[in-house]
């Protein structure tokens, strides 16, 4: 059943996102083309314009990725289509997982497209060297490769998006338990959930700080922390954040299983 749901969820979101993908790539190509002519002011301006368009397309992709899934979540579970959704012989948990997995997959694709656009627009030996040099000191400090840094960064970004998405779902589930101003409450509860998720990570760090003097320095003093401490903090934060994501998933499914009241 999950596969079947995924198929329909994915198709419906992808139909919209692909437009943004194509536009982003298109403007990426244009940017590259316009910027390749070094001596014309007009072309330089056009290049700036298409660069702006490309960037805005990339942002739109990510925003749409999240927002459309929220809209679909609400429509499928609380709107007219919910009459079909809830009467399918499918568990609520499966419905939820389908929405999450669809977003995970589309986020991957979106990130991939963004990468492609950046590559298309900006790749050159000089740019690559510049980029490498920028990251090298960071990589050395953290005792890892440049690729490792990039991977870590991507992972954190991905985790953040996933968290925002799930907090949005929490908001929708709780918001629709209210009788009025459902959208308003959904936004409110979503925001609160997100805030709470961030606080948990800080709280865990603080909890550790009680037992670890080095960590305490983060909260109490202004002195620079040792690289080792910072590294541990980052790894702990990321692990914690990952767990929070999983926790929110469980909480959401639990809340969702309690049932809906469709108008």
């Amino acid at each position: 059943m999950l596969k079947k749901l995924l198929k329909y969820d994915f198709k419906s979101i992808f139909k919209v996102l692909i437009i943004f993908y194509i536009l982003a790539i298109f403007f990426g190509v244009l940017t590259r083309v316009f910027f390749s002519f070094k001596n014309s002011l007009v072309l330089e301006i056009l290049g700036e314009i298409s660069q702006g368009a490309a960037i805005s397309m990339m942002c739109s992709t990510l925003i749409n990725n999240l927002m459309r899934m929220w809209v679909r979540f609400k429509g499928h579970f609380y709107g007219d289509e919910s009459y079909l959704t809830h009467t399918l012989p499918v568990e609520k948990r499966t419905h939820y997982l389908s929405k999450i997995l669809t977003t995970v997959i589309t986020l991957f694709v979106s990130f991939g497209v963004i990468f492609l656009v950046l590559f298309t627009a900006y790749y050159s030996k000089e740019n690559l060297l510049f980029f490498k040099n920028l990251l090298l000191p960071l990589a050395e400090i953290y005792d890892s490769s440049i690729l490792g840094i990039i991977a870590l960064f991507m992972f954190v970004l991905f985790l953040e998006f996933l968290n925002i998405l799930q907090c949005g779902f929490t908001g929708i589930i709780l918001g629709h338990r209210k009788n009025n101003a459902k959208i308003g409450f959904s936004v409110l509860f979503g925001g609160l959930a997100f805030f709470a998720s961030q606080i948990i990570v800080v709280a865990v760090l603080f909890g550790i700080a009680i037992f670890n003097k080095d960590f305490m320095n983060l909260f109490v003093t202004n002195t620079a922390l040792s690289m080792e401490t910072i590294k541990s903090m980052i790894y702990i934060s990321i692990s914690c954040y990952t767990l929070v994501s999983v926790l929110i998933c469980f909480v959401n499914i639990r809340l969702f299983k309690k049932g809906v009241n469709v108008d």
Binding site: Y83, T87, L88
Partner: protein
């Protein structure tokens, strides 16, 4: 074991009690009319059975088990509203139903659609409201379910189609299945009802066999209803 049982069912909504102490039992192989005025609680009861609302207190059992994936497999529900994905064509919708419902008979669906003169290539949002309602009905009746729940199936439909719908209900009928028809257009369907349930202000005020009731009151169900609910 009864097909459907509601035990001490209560439903509150926005501080109002919409359903009060509903106790009913639906056996297999019967066509039952759920009759009541608008706002009496018919749709609320139906939505509760279909997991679209949560119970405030009480139980709903289907084949002795609470509502869940198993009960959804054997219940075929026709809501009063448009609930299909309007961007899809009829063909695609049939495919969707085929995928999620094991007991969906697409051959039957295509036959019924043909009888009703509907083009299966058309997108639902290009069809009139009446045509969409027909499609929805066909999809519901094409499932080999144990319990069919039809919420106002004759609402916005012309008399010829009304006859066709009644025919389809009778053709679909078998000993193992039951049909619950919720409506306030009683005279059109009363001749096919085995039992009737009168519901008013959230309470069941009468349960009876149709013919027995006619005998007792010397009147049609429609007339009895009018007498009971005179404004």
């Amino acid at each position: 074991m009864e097909l459907l049982q509601c035990i001490d069912l209560n439903k509150n909504f926005k501080k109002k009690q919409i359903l009060k102490n509903i106790n009913l039992s639906i056996p297999r192989g019967k066509i039952i009319g759920l009759l009541g005025k608008n706002g009496a609680g018919k749709s609320t009861l139906i939505k509760l059975i279909n997991d679209l609302l949560t119970v405030t207190s009480g139980q709903i059992l289907i084949n002795g088990k609470p509502i869940g994936v198993e009960s959804k497999k054997i219940i075929s529900y026709l809501p009063e509203r448009a609930y299909l994905d309007k961007g899809m064509t009829v063909d695609k919708t049939i495919k969707y139903f085929e995928e999620f419902y094991e007991n969906f008979d697409s051959e039957k669906a295509y036959k019924l659609l043909k009888d009703l003169g509907l083009d299966t290539n058309q997108k639902l949002n290009k069809m009139s409201k009446g045509m969409q309602e027909k499609v929805q009905l066909v999809l519901v009746m094409s499932r080999k379910a144990d319990l069919y729940i039809l919420d106002e199936p004759l609402g916005g439909v012309d008399p010829a189609t009304r006859d066709y719908i009644l025919d389809t209900i009778l053709t679909n009928f078998n000993d193992g299945a039951s049909v619950i028809i919720s409506t306030h257009l009683i005279s059109d369907i009363e001749r096919i009802l085995d039992n009737v349930i009168f519901i008013d202000k959230g309470e069941i005020i009468l349960t009876a066999e149709a013919d027995e009731l006619r005998n007792r009151e010397d009147a049609s169900i429609d007339e009895i209803f009018r007498r009971m609910f005179k404004c």
